[in-house]
């Protein structure tokens, strides 16, 4: 049956690069491993010899002033930007630099954008449906049917992100905070091994932030989570380990207290804040 299906599936025609569908191998250490990664735009080095490892099940916060290379780093991990040099490994088996975005996504890396990106023309329910881990080739997608199991999973996530009442509304009418959550919900539907979350609490109220913090810390352990955030209060509330990026490379790493007492970090942050005020 499965052979028949793969024969009938037209996208197999071009499938030179079908990803090796295997669980991520984390027996030999970290789930994400970046070594000496460098990327430059027009001579400007956005990422400069970056080294970073994330352990399985870890919740890591990444902070740094504007232009430190946080978003570019996420672009590299998810395959949107190719680095000029360096290595990026997912577990010890998957070389992320040899893959494109959908392949990386189907390996189990989910990403939430800095600016909330949901499918505004689709309903909240449909947004989650598309995000759900499933066979994402063409024919299976075309012939996909809804069943009770799927519906239950979506309902469960809807409850988690607090949008159950809005399930049939178009995502375009949601508030900024609701969109943030919907996007997190889409990540949950993907059941990723690694979540990359870019500024999850921007534009949220104090209350919403608390719930988000709860959500993210709840995820850690089962999944690895990397959070990029500006809001220091939020970082302090969830972080166990913090990495400070500056000018494209790691400036400091450690617990929030260690990091915030590091004189180099203080200098960078004060300097950056002083500049911003000018």
């Amino acid at each position: 049956m499965s052979i028949l299906r793969s024969l009938a599936s037209r996208d197999r025609v071009f499938d030179f690069l079908v990803p090796v569908e295997s669980p991520v191998d984390v027996r030999h250490g970290p789930i994400l491993y970046l070594e000496d990664v460098t990327v430059s735009f027009d001579g400007f080095k956005a990422i400069n010899d970056l080294n970073l490892t994330i352990d399985d099940g870890e919740l890591r916060c990444i902070i740094g002033p504007n232009g430190a290379g946080k978003t570019t780093m996420m672009d590299i991990i998810t395959g949107k930007t190719r680095p000029d040099s360096g290595k990026v490994w997912f577990g010890s088996r998957h070389d992320l630099l040899a893959m494109n975005e959908p392949q990386i996504a189907s390996l189990g890396i989910g990403r939430k954008f800095q600016k909330p990106t949901v499918f505004e023309a689709l309903t909240v329910f449909e947004n989650l449906e598309l995000a759900m881990a499933a066979d994402k080739r063409i024919l299976p997608t075309l012939t996909a049917r809804m069943n009770g199991e799927i519906r239950d999973r979506i309902d469960e996530v809807l409850k988690t992100i607090g949008l159950a009442e809005l399930r049939v509304r178009q995502a375009g009418i949601l508030s900024h905070g609701q969109k943030q959550w919907l996007e997190i919900g889409m990540l949950l539907m993907q059941r990723p091994r690694l979540l990359l979350v870019d500024e999850p609490v921007a534009g949220m109220t104090e209350q919403e932030m608390e719930r988000t913090a709860e959500l993210l810390t709840g995820l850690a352990g089962k999944q690895s989570v990397v959070v990029v955030e500006h809001d220091m209060g939020f970082v302090r509330s969830i972080a166990r380990k913090v990495t400070v990026l500056h000018q494209g490379s790691v400036l400091a790493e450690g617990s929030m207290d260690q990091v915030s007492s590091d004189p180099r970090v203080v200098e960078v942050y004060l300097g950056a804040e002083a500049e911003e005020e000018v």
């Binding site: 037209r10 499918f119 994402k136 997608t141 075309l142 993907q190």
Partner: protein, 379 residues
Amino acid sequence: MQSRSWLMRPFGERSTLIFLAVLLAAMALVTLMHLAVPPGHSLHVSAYTVNLFGKYLSYALLAVAVDLVWGYLGILSLGHGAFFAMGGYAMGMYLMRQIGDRGVYGHPVLPDFMVFLNWDSLPWYWHGFDMAGFAFLMVLLAPGALALIFGFLAFRSRVTGVYLSIITQALTFALMLAFFRNEMGFGGNNGLTDFREILGFNLRSSETRLGLFLASGVALAVGYLLCRAIVTSKLGRVCVATRDAEARTRFLGYRVERFQLFVFVVSAMLAGLAGALYVPQVGIINPSEFSPLFSIEIVLWVALGGRATLYGAVIGAILVNYAKTVFTGVMPDAWLFALGGLFVLVTVFLPRGVAGLLSLRLRRRRDADASFSAKEASA
């Protein structure tokens, strides 16, 4: 809501049922008024008019094909006329071969224009077109193959938006120039014409014309249902997702370029089918069908009808072409003014088209039809 098989799903939609009912009623009415009402009576529909309606229906199918890629995938193709024309040429080649030795020069195999050019044998790509089955297959495969190659290259390198529109326009322009050349073996400037019969039926008889009209109606219904089935499936939602946030869709694990390619090829094949129905009804196919003007006009039909609804495309195609028939008969100079004005008015004042006006009336809260992005409508 999604438990049916994807192909049966459109039958559960009210809008589709209404559309089918209206289409079938119109086809029955025209047939009745043509056959049962005696000529001379004010309600009689002449063979000429039947023919005209048949032409509109094939245009409507073309518009549905364009709406599938533009409305749901966000790809503004300014080159769909090329697929339409290729389907038309495939049909034209079959019709040419049907002429046999009854051409002006009486050659048993070669069409007149080849005799005129002193060719002594058929070019290889003309072989097989004497068989209806092969020719009808080519009607779908030729445009499909072009769409496959072009789309594969374009989507793989992520050419989108305006760039894609411009190169699709360049594509059809290049094909037009190519087909104008006599050496191409498609009749050059004059194209293919002087057809006599299709599947043994005389093309000039009113029965054949009625048959072609009905065939166009059926093709439109089938094409419409197929497109509806696609857009109401999960794949359709992936398309809309791609249209509104391509990068996000990729990060969810969908190979966006393959979905684009799949829908693009389906759309090209439908356009080819429309062209194949169009050619026997107008009796000629020439390179002007490749002209960028025609391709962009198709887009206007869709825009006027309302994109991302499919039935809007049908309404738009029929409205604009009816207006064209009336205008070019009464005041030919004014037609281009009207057409140009329509482009401006529709885009500026009627971004959701006639269907948008309709759905204001029949507003159903939650319908996959009305999936026109709120962002796009207001921005």
